[in-house]
Symmetry: C2
Subunit: 243 residues, 2 copies
């Protein structure tokens, strides 16, 4: 499986993805799931993928192929809504090619994408694109999207994130959400791709790969675990007389 999360805040957008892909426990591999399409000073688009890896790769390849060619593409689209439609179209192209063949083998056409970023003249925007190529956009009330193994890491986001959260705080929350997922689900694992997009920067200042050797990740994992255990110790014990 996969776990990816993106948060659209007043200050910008935070993207985090893992890199584990599996087709059964004996087929576990590492693939990047974060793809950046950038024209400095004009547009930054970040795409994250979950679901069937062959579909994800075909979508990314289809998008890339169109970049240089005639017709609509991510370098030309005028705004993020057009960008989401374009990615949806590319997904539908892959569906047209593969879905019937997959079905013959009893395989779902499973794909879920997160597309976020900013095109000059607009605010940063964030979309969740479904397998059918339709999509929804993040709002002030629901400023984040998750794809893949999303449930383990959802409670911590629900408790912490609002659009006013700072980029650093949101990055920490995304990393803790990822750590909770990794601890509880074997099919999600390091290395991670973390990308922080600052509103109106129109270029990527922070994009890092996080591995087992990344000291900062180890540090916040450890500190967070200790904080949680300490929190339990501090919670009052149930008083069975009054409960």
């Amino acid at each position: 499986m996969t776990y990816c999360v993106a948060m659209r805040l007043d200050a910008g957008v935070v993207f985090l993805s893992d890199s584990r892909t599996n087709a059964g426990v004996d087929h576990i591999n590492t693939f990047r799931k974060m793809h950046v399409f950038a024209k400095e000073g004009e547009r930054i688009l970040v795409l994250m993928t979950a679901g069937n890896l062959s579909i994800s790769q075909s979508v990314v390849n289809t998008i890339r192929e169109k970049l240089g060619a005639r017709g609509n593409n991510l370098d030309k689209v005028k705004n993020m809504f057009e960008a989401a439609k374009h990615v949806g179209d590319c997904l539908r192209e892959v569906h047209g090619r593969d879905a019937a063949a997959l079905e013959k083998f009893g395989l779902d056409f499973s794909s879920s994408l997160i597309l976020g970023g900013q095109i000059k003249g607009e605010e940063p925007r964030l979309f969740n694109i479904y397998a059918a190529g339709n999509f929804i956009e993040a709002t002030r009330e629901t400023p984040y999207f998750q794809i893949g193994e999303s449930k383990y890491g959802k409670p911590i986001i629900d408790r912490v994130i609002s659009t006013r959260t700072s980029l650093d705080e949101a990055a920490k929350c995304a990393l803790i959400s990822m750590d909770s997922t990794i601890r509880s689900n074997l099919s999600v694992d390091l290395p991670l791709d973390l990308l922080i997009y600052e509103r109106d920067a129109l270029r990527v200042r922070q994009h890092v790969k996080i591995t087992r050797d990344t000291a900062y990740y180890g540090q916040i994992r450890k500190q967070w675990g200790e904080h949680l255990r300490q929190g339990f110790a501090e919670l009052p014990d149930p008083d069975w007389e009054t409960l």
Copy 2:
């Protein structure tokens, strides 16, 4: 949906269940999912159910019907392994009656049960019984089971619970795990059933219903939420130079 969790510790067993049942968002109701079969001084068995409500109720009714009658039943079984087999048999009886008819309506025979407790002469034991009537038992390495919407509340258990955890600590952890689930998933909700079984007591000393008005639950929810937010504030911000 449902969320139930049970933890088998050195000190006893903790059981917690929610009470929400839904068949679509316009059919949300409250049903108890925790059922206690007790003979003080001799045996305490606690059954929690998830899945299709009609199956859960039929299983519980089948178990109860057999209690007074001839043949094997939960009042007679000599140990917890026999008890789990008996519950599995009752589930298979319901499967025999209902599965084919459900299938005609495109419905899975979905059922997942947790059975735990103690019968005199044995240690407390805990089982997870699947829809097919087969089951697994909790071990020192994996001392807890969850059924229903289990993913949201799993990370906190994975971080906190070992067999050496005290009953009060485990009860707090179960309640926080439930609170995380309730916050992130509409289909799980109060009231809750919390039952603490102390090893070798062979009777239930603590079995409480927790509602919105239960002061203790409100208190630990609030304190825990504050503790998490404070924890984030204390985590070091990422240092992008060295990351």
